[in-house]
C-alpha cells in the first residue's frame, strides 16, 4: 500500500479525487473550488492602491488563502516526503519532439531546468518563461474570471456553458503557444 502511494498516481485515481474536492468544499463550508482568486486576494491585501477591483473585504476570503497554503504544503508532502521519480514518465513522442524542437536535453525534475533555472533571468528565455508566462497566467485568469479549477472543474461540473467558452479559450491559447509560437522561438 505504502509503495503504491509513493508511485505516480494514474489519472483514474487522481481525477476522481480532484473531482471530489468540489463537493467537499461545498459541504464543508459552502465554498466553490477556485484557485486563481487567491492571487486577487493577495493583491487586495498587500497592494490595493485604491483600485476599485482590489478594494473589498478580502478577509472574508481568507479560507481561499488557507486552501492555497495547504496546496503548497501538499506539494511538499507529495514531492519531498512521498517520493518521486527522477524523470516524469511522459510519452516517448513528447521527449523526441521536445529534444528536436526545443533543444531540451535535461528531462529530470518537474520542469526543464534549461528553461526555468533562475540564472535564465539573465537572458530572454528566463524573462519569457518565468516572467511573461507567470504574468499571462495572473492577467488572463482574472480577466476570464477563473482558471482550470474555477472554470474547467468547478464550472463545467455545474454545467456552466460560460466555463466551456473559457476552457476553449484556454486550449486555443495553449495550442497556439505550443504549435505556432514555440516553433518561432526555438
Amino acid at each position: 500500500m505504502l509503495e503504491l502511494l509513493q508511485q505516480p498516481w494514474p489519472w483514474y485515481v487522481a481525477g476522481p479525487l480532484i473531482g471530489l474536492t468540489v463537493p467537499a468544499l461545498l459541504l464543508v463550508g459552502n465554498k466553490a473550488l477556485g484557485i486563481s482568486s487567491s492571487l486577487r486576494h493577495v493583491c487586495a491585501a498587500c497592494v490595493p492602491a485604491g483600485i476599485p477591483f482590489l478594494t473589498y473585504n478580502w478577509r472574508a476570503e481568507i479560507w481561499n488563502l488557507v486552501f492555497v497554503l495547504g496546496i503548497a504544503l501538499g506539494g511538499f508532502i507529495g514531492y519531498r516526503l512521498m517520493g518521486h521519480p527522477d524523470v516524469i514518465g511522459i510519452s516517448a513522442a513528447t521527449v523526441r519532439d521536445l529534444k528536436a524542437e526545443m533543444h531540451l536535453t535535461d528531462f529530470t525534475g518537474l520542469l526543464p531546468k534549461e528553461l526555468f533555472a533562475l540564472d535564465n533571468l539573465a537572458n530572454w528565455k528566463g524573462w519569457v518563461f518565468l516572467v511573461l508566462g507567470g504574468f499571462l497566467v495572473g492577467f488572463g485568469t482574472r480577466y476570464a474570471g477563473g482558471c482550470t479549477s474555477g472554470h474547467a472543474i468547478s464550472g463545467l461540473s455545474n454545467l456552466q456553458w460560460v466555463s466551456l467558452v473559457a476552457v476553449i479559450g484556454f486550449f486555443a491559447g495553449g495550442l497556439l503557444m505550443t504549435w505556432v509560437i514555440y516553433p518561432m522561438m526555438f
Binding site: 508532502i77 507567470g134 467558452v165
Partner: protein, 136 residues
C-alpha cells in the same frame, strides 16, 4: 481554527496534484501535443465526478455542515471569458502550470515557482488596474 478544514482539504488537493504529476511542465506539453491521455483523463474524470456530486447535492437539497443551503452561483458571459481565457492559455503552455500547480511547485521546493507566482500576482494586479479600459 475555523480555517483548519480548508488547510486539510488544500493539503490533500496539493498531494493529489503532485502525485498525479499535473504540476509538471512536461505533462502539460504532452497534453497540448496530444501525445498522452493522462491529463485528459485527470481533468475529464474530475469533471465527471464533480458533475455527479453537484447533481446529488442539488437533487437532495443537501446543506453544508453549518446547516446553510448550498448555493452555486451561475457564471455570466462577457467577452473577457474567452479573451482572458486565451491569454491564460498562452501562459499555461509557457509556464506549464495553472495557479493551483504553481503553489504545489513552490511547496515541492522549485525556486522558479516563486518567480512565477510573483509574476502572476503582477499580472492580476495589472488586470485590476486596467479593468475599466478592457473590452468586455
Amino acid at each position: 481554527m475555523k480555517y483548519f478544514k480548508y488547510l486539510v482539504l488544500g493539503t490533500l488537493f496539493g498531494i493529489i496534484l503532485t502525485k498525479s504529476e499535473v504540476i509538471s511542465w512536461f505533462r502539460i506539453q504532452e497534453m497540448f501535443r496530444f501525445q498522452a491521455f493522462h491529463m485528459y483523463g485527470v481533468i475529464g474524470s474530475a469533471i465527471l465526478v464533480g458533475m455527479i456530486s453537484i447533481q446529488l447535492i442539488k437533487r437532495n437539497r443537501l446543506k453544508s455542515i453549518d446547516g446553510e443551503p448550498i448555493v452555486l452561483a451561475d457564471k455570466k458571459f462577457n467577452h473577457g471569458i474567452w479573451i482572458g481565457g486565451f491569454i491564460f492559455g498562452l501562459g499555461w503552455a509557457l509556464t506549464g502550470a495553472c495557479p493551483g500547480p504553481l503553489f504545489a511547485q513552490l511547496g515541492s521546493g522549485i525556486g522558479s515557482a516563486a518567480v512565477l507566482i510573483l509574476a502572476a500576482l503582477a499580472g492580476t494586479w495589472t488586470y485590476s488596474a486596467l479593468r475599466e479600459k478592457l473590452p468586455y
